[in-house]
């Protein structure tokens, strides 16, 4: 690295002990766990006062963060490697590897920042783009430098409330200040769940349908346009703009060894403020995160990682740190950072059935496994929740889940199977009660999660819906 950026670590973070020297990671700094909301000085991405409807302006952004250090491509790539920045869209793939693959593949790469955030209950990318647009744009500009290109596409959904206008205003503001930016373009795609999947985004931006693509070559090596295509989540690139300013070591020290840097999470379900986005650093446990929102008792269960995520019993979740390793130890992936809280007295099977029905309707209708398998899995989940199921039904449902697993072009069917398996596992007692034909104790409980209306299967092969 040619430029040594100024290190800015907030004094209240209780830094810093040099812990170990992992190859490629640099000195590890251990911090105390911290959870910060928007405007909390403990945060990085979310620090600074909440912005108005137009997002934070360039003046205030630069006042807090100062100008980006002048980095060249090699400098940015060194930052990516040293920080081990992982993708925050759900896959968790290191951005450095994507960039390197694209550089090796040759040809002029395409860079797409995916801010579509298809997960309906997740709000982190929306919050980031509408509150801190310049952090996202700074980071996107840095990735463009790393790839040696001067063009960036920001991809969003068309949905109402999508921060298109904020980003456009921010881009115009930067042009007025003659910041050496790439050329920006904003792409708005269909509001479908799988349309935010990276191959679907790449396909759409290349001029195709916003449906996932079967690929034998990584997108970063050859995308649907024939050019290497790097797709990165909005939160990921926003982190990069922070890394460039505070240095990779200080940044990755704000996470844990397995998940470097702070992460954004969204709260949903039975919490005081559903949709609230928090910034988690250090080994903060799910309990500490939920306590920040004012929760004092352990909930019945927590759905981690998105609607197509994994359930954890409240007691287990409360003590689990929100880091990749600690979550993996209990069979969970951080995904897009969604934490859905199921209160005592609500039925996890009913909530799962609603989610699975929604996800089944949100398939792209391309692969047989989704078209044939998911509606049947949704039927099974509903029967189970309604108590009209027998033991044989659960066995058949499990067999069907095994069939569906791993046979789609994208991860959509696998995620549904993961959700169903964790439901059967975590709510084992409830399953037994429902099978015995007892009335569900939570039959009158109002729905916990704001699951959108499922899309009906009719016309799912209609290409107009996907363009």
């Amino acid at each position: 690295m040619t430029v040594q950026p100024e290190v800015r670590v907030h004094p209240r973070r209780g830094v810093a002990r040099v812990d170990s020297l992992l190859p490629g990671l640099g000195p590890q700094i251990t911090v105390e766990a911290a959870v910060a909301g928007l405007g909390d000085p403990l945060g990085l991405l979310l620090s600074g006062p909440p912005a108005g409807p137009d997002g934070e302006g360039l003046e205030s952004h630069l006042a807090r963060w100062s100008e980006l250090p002048p980095l060249d491509g090699a400098g940015v790539r060194a930052l990516l490697r040293a920080s081990a920045l992982d993708g925050r869209g759900g896959g968790g793939f290191p951005l450095a590897r994507k960039v390197e693959t694209a550089m090796l593949a040759g040809g002029r790469p395409v860079l797409i920042v995916n801010a579509s955030e298809s997960e309906p209950a997740s709000h982190k990318d929306r919050t980031l783009c509408s509150q801190r647009p310049h952090l996202v744009l700074d980071g996107a500009a840095l990735v463009a430098v790393a790839l040696g290109i001067d063009e960036v596409v920001i991809h969003l959904h068309r949905a109402l409330g999508s921060p298109v206008r904020v980003l456009e205003a921010a881009m115009a503001e930067r042009q007025g200040r003659s910041i050496a930016d790439p050329r920006w373009s904003i792409s708005t795609g269909p509001d479908r769940y799988v349309s935010g999947e990276s191959s679907a985004v790449a396909r759409y931006v290349a001029g195709g349908e916003a449906r996932p693509l079967f690929t034998t070559i990584p997108l970063a090596a050859e995308g649907p346009s024939g050019r290497p295509t790097v797709i990165s989540n909005a939160e990921t690139v926003a982190h990069l703009s922070v890394i460039a300013r505070m240095g990779p070591d200080a940044w990755s020290g704000l996470g844990t060894a397995s998940s470097p840097g702070p992460r954004l999470v969204t709260l949903t379900g039975a919490v005081n403020s559903p949709g609230r986005v928090l910034e988690v650093s250090g080994p903060a446990t799910l309990g500490e995160i939920l306590a920040t929102d004012g929760m004092s008792t352990r909930p019945a269960a927590v759905l981690v990682g998105g609607f197509a995520g994994t359930w954890l019993l409240g007691d287990d979740a409360w003590q689990t740190p929100f880091s990749r390793d600690a979550l993996a130890a209990v069979g969970v992936q951080p995904g897009c950072g969604l934490l859905g809280v199921l209160p005592h007295g609500a039925c996890g099977l009913t909530e799962t059935a609603r989610i699975v029905r929604y996800l089944a309707g949100e398939s792209a209708g391309q692969c047989g496994t989704c078209v044939a398998g998911l509606p049947r899995l949704a039927d099974s989940c509903e029967s189970l929740a309604a108590g009209t199921f027998r033991k044989r039904g659960v066995r058949k449902m499990s067999a069907l889940a095994d069939t569906v697993l791993g046979s789609g072009a994208c991860g959509h069917p696998d995620a549904v199977v993961r959700l169903i398996r964790s439901t059967l596992d975590v709510f084992e007692d409830d399953v037994v009660r429902h099978l015995a034909g007892h009335a569900c104790r939570a039959a009158d409980h109002p729905p916990v999660f704001a699951v959108p209306e499922p899309v009906l299967a009719i016309g799912r092969d209609d290409t107009r819906e996907w363009t």
Partner: protein
Amino acid sequence: MTAQIRIDPTLCRGHAICALFFSDAVDLDQWGFGKVAVSVIDSERDLRRARRAAAACPNGAFVVTGADGSVDNGARRPRRLRVRAAR
């Protein structure tokens, strides 16, 4: 030999033809959609069988790839998506 077989699930329509040509390598589900059971091909004979299955598949869903992941079905297979008119 580093050829691999893959089944493009977006194209597979469950004709089960691949199982006729190369039954060892393919698991069919109840609808006839194939899942690759053994993806790495390590003999000349299996490569021939895989190529025949790839050629015969009515939907072009059965794919043989080379070491770098590029499609290598023996014959050319158009694998470009439909590009729609300018947005």
